[in-house]
Assembly symmetry: C2
Homo-oligomer: 249 residues x 2
Amino acid sequence: MSNPTAAIIIIGNEILSGRTQDVNVQFIATHLALLGVKLQEVRVVPDVPGRIIGTVNELRAAYDMVFTTGGIGPTHDDITSECIAAAFGVPWEAHEPSMKVLRDYLGPRMNAAQGRMATLPRGAVPIRNEVSIAPGFTMGNVHVMAGVPRIMQAMFLALEKDLPRGTPIAMRAVYGIGVMEGNIAAGLSEIQDRFADADLGSYPFQRDGSWGVAIVAKGTDTARLEAAIAEASAMIEGQGVSPIQGEPE
Amino acid sequence: MSNPTAAIIIIGNEILSGRTQDVNVQFIATHLALLGVKLQEVRVVPDVPGRIIGTVNELRAAYDMVFTTGGIGPTHDDITSECIAAAFGVPWEAHEPSMKVLRDYLGPRMNAAQGRMATLPRGAVPIRNEVSIAPGFTMGNVHVMAGVPRIMQAMFLALEKDLPRGTPIAMRAVYGIGVMEGNIAAGLSEIQDRFADADLGSYPFQRDGSWGVAIVAKGTDTARLEAAIAEASAMIEGQGVSPIQGEPE
C-alpha cells in the first residue's frame, strides 16, 4: 500500500509574531503517521488573503491532502473561510444546516459575526466541533480546522475516520547518553546504506546536563526498523555506552 | 524606518514525523520582532536535497533574510550545508579557520565526519557556536543554524548584532475572561478600521476551565497600540467583564 501525502498550513500572525507557540503541527503529524499519511511540508503564513489563497492552491495541487489551522472564528481577522472559497472559485454562502446547529446552540444572542462561522464555501462538508459547535469544513482535499488546539483536535478526530490511509509509519529509537554524534557518524551511515527502507535520523539532545544522541528509524516495515536499531544499539555499545531502547520520548 | 522581512526554514524530518516539538520558530520570531524584522513565512521541509535547495532559493529571493535550522551536524542526514552550496552554485569546501577551531576543540579524536561540520559553501562567514563549537554560517542573506535549540539560540545571539533592523514591532494586549468572541467581533472590527496602523488580532483561549479572549495589537507606534487597546478594554467592560491589561503572556 502506498502512502498518501499531506501538507499543513498554519494561518497565524500570532505564530509569526512569536506570541504563540504552535502545538498543532505535532498533534496532526503524530496522527498522520499512525494513519500512514506522509507529512511532506508545513507552512506558516500571515492573515493576508493573497498569501492564504496562493498557498492553498499551490499545496492542494502538490499533495493528496492539506490541513489548515486558524482563522475560522467570528472576528475581522478570521478570513480563512472566505479565502478557501476564493481559492476554489466558488461562492461563500450561508450553510443552512450549520447555521441551524449554531443558532440552536447560541440561541437568540447569535449575531451576524457568529453567523460568519456557519458561512462556508459552496460545496464544503462541515467538520463537527463538539467543543464550541462552530464547524470546520472539508473542501475538496483541503481540511479547514480551528487554531485553538482543543478545538482543532476535536475537529481532527471527527475527520480522521474519513481520511485516505496508507501503511502506518512506525518509529523505533535507541538512545546513547554520552555518545558523541561525530564518533558514530561513519557507522550510522553504513547502517543506513544497508537499510535503505529504514529512514535513519540522528538527533543530539541534552538531558540532566549530559549530551546524548537519539538514533531514530522510521518506515513502514517494523521488523526492518528493529533490525536497523539493533545494529545502531551495537554501535553505541561499541562506544562503551549502554544503549537505552525505547519508543521515541 | 521600514521593516526588513524574513522567513524561517526548518529542515527537519523529526518535526514532520511528530517526534519533535519545534521551539525554534518562537525564539527566532520573538527576537526578530524586537529587531523590527517582519517574519513573513515559516516552512518545514524534509531532509531531501531538492526540497531544501528549492525552498532556500525561493525564499532568499522573496525576503530580505532567511534563517534555517537543522541539518548541520556530522551524520549522514545532515545535508543542509551541501544544499546551501548547491543553492548558491558554489563549491562546498574545508573552511580552514573553522577547521582549526574545531580541531583545537576536539583534539586528535576529530574524524572525517566531524570535519564535515567545518566544511562550508565557498564565501560563507561562520557563525560562532559557544555551546558545541561547530559553526553555523551566513551565505548571502541566508543564516544557517543548528536545530538543537540551545545551540541555535547561541548562534542567533552571536549573529543578532549584524542583522539589518527596523523599527521594533511592539505588542500590547488586553484579556477578557468570559467574553464571547462573537459578541465583540463587530466592535473590534470598528476599532481596527480606526487603527489601520495597529494590527489587531483576537485569540480565544481557555484558562482554568473558562474561555476568554485576548485582543492583541501589533505595530511600530506604541502610543497608537495603547490607544487601540484602551478602546478594546472599554469594549470588554461593555460586556460586563473587567479587562486584564498586560503584555502578551
